[in-house]
Symmetry: C2
């Protein structure tokens, strides 16, 4: 098959590198500004640009027989509805430049304008990955929100922890085994059942001593607000 | 050496199992209520009970030559100051019953009543682990607070994500590669530098669409408050 990937960001680059290693796929990376080199015989054109630019790029693609899909978690399939066969090809991962990934367990969430298109897009994702799911635009938005909590917000909490550790002479590495084990536990029980810590024990003595340390450390008010809000949310969720 | 571990919870059980496999260590697990079987020739007595019970248990230990240390992250070393040689032997990990751990990279944070005691406690931790650190009571409290953000609060965010995923027909497993990669990234860059997502991009369009989905999903008000607070904290931290 012939695959054109429009974009030059992290997702486009990773998908390009992944498909380059697949037999029987001819893959080209296309500059989103010029669209130079678009193959008139392409079977699939992936638009992997920032959410705001998707419709603009799609409008500039010459009419042809290719399926057209975007790779965005939070953009509706309808953005591409001016095309004949269109869809969404969403890889759920945090992509960084230069960081090697194992694509075989990369989850893809697929939506097509019709059943044949959905099936074709699933087949293409299946060339890379064992984890291909169907998801409509609402489900995909929920996936994106869930990922925001589970990845972006989590990373921010790690950043807060990193600050506290560094202020006390330790590196983030001292908590790595703890974090790895916290994640591993969710493979054998749900995060709900895996909850530990002073909040779920309603251990107000420890909570007060934590708040005193935070206040003595002159941390930003946000950091204390986050402590209080997550503590009360854990208590409420588990009572 | 002769090691008595007072306690019967997860930490006590894990430490007992870990030291059982070390040559030249004779380890006993002691019931914290009866203290039956305490060895008068013990070199070290570890008190691994709930924070509130440490001083009470310590007061009941017959006077002898053993060093006495507790294993708590948030309890001062002074709790044991009625003893001759005392300290803290704090393993930074989340311990679950029946879950096998690799003890060789388990970080221990050690504090002793004097230099010789600190050194001896470090040597004992070194029998299990390559990662032995010294930490005074303030540093250890900061470690405990950092772990609360990095482990307990993170787990709660994963629980929120799990709920959203399940409501939309997906299991937590679909985000596991994302979470694993999010953690892996912090090994090559700081969590601060690894931050991604709509908040750091100030992508208000996506943020608004997330908030709409949360509100349409009738989630608890806390969940929305957490979204707003973490989003604004990320924006503030990175601007």
């Amino acid at each position: 098959m012939i695959l054109d990937i429009i974009g030059r960001g992290n997702v486009a680059t990773h998908l390009y590198n992944a498909f380059r290693n697949i037999n029987d796929v001819t893959v080209n990376m296309i500059n989103p500004h010029t669209l130079a080199g678009l193959n008139p015989n392409a079977d699939l054109i992936l638009i992997s640009v920032s959410d705001n630019a998707i419709s603009e790029v799609a409008a500039k693609i010459p009419e042809g027989s290719a399926m057209i899909a975007h790779t965005s978690g939070s953009t509706s399939i309808d953005t591409l509805s001016d095309n004949k066969r269109y869809g969404v090809f969403y890889p759920l991962q945090t992509f960084s430049k230069g960081k090697v990934l194992n694509y075989s367990d990369l989850p893809f969430f697929i939506e097509g304008s019709d059943e044949a298109t959905t099936k074709s897009l699933c087949d293409v994702a299946g060339l890379l990955s064992n984890k291909t799911f169907r998801a409509d635009s609402n489900q995909r938005r929920a996936l994106h929100v869930a990922s925001t909590y589970a990845c972006n917000f989590v990373n921010h909490l790690w950043s807060i922890a990193d600050d506290l550790l560094q202020k006390n002479g330790f590196s983030f590495e001292v908590v790595r085994p703890l974090l790895q084990e916290t994640l591993s536990k969710t493979a054998v029980m749900s995060p709900f059942d895996a909850q530990t810590g002073p909040a779920i024990r309603k251990d107000t003595k420890t909570i007060d001593s934590h708040l005193k340390l935070l206040s003595d450390s002159n941390v930003d008010k946000d950091i204390i607000d986050i402590y209080n809000l997550l503590t009360s949310s854990i208590i409420k969720t588990h009572s």
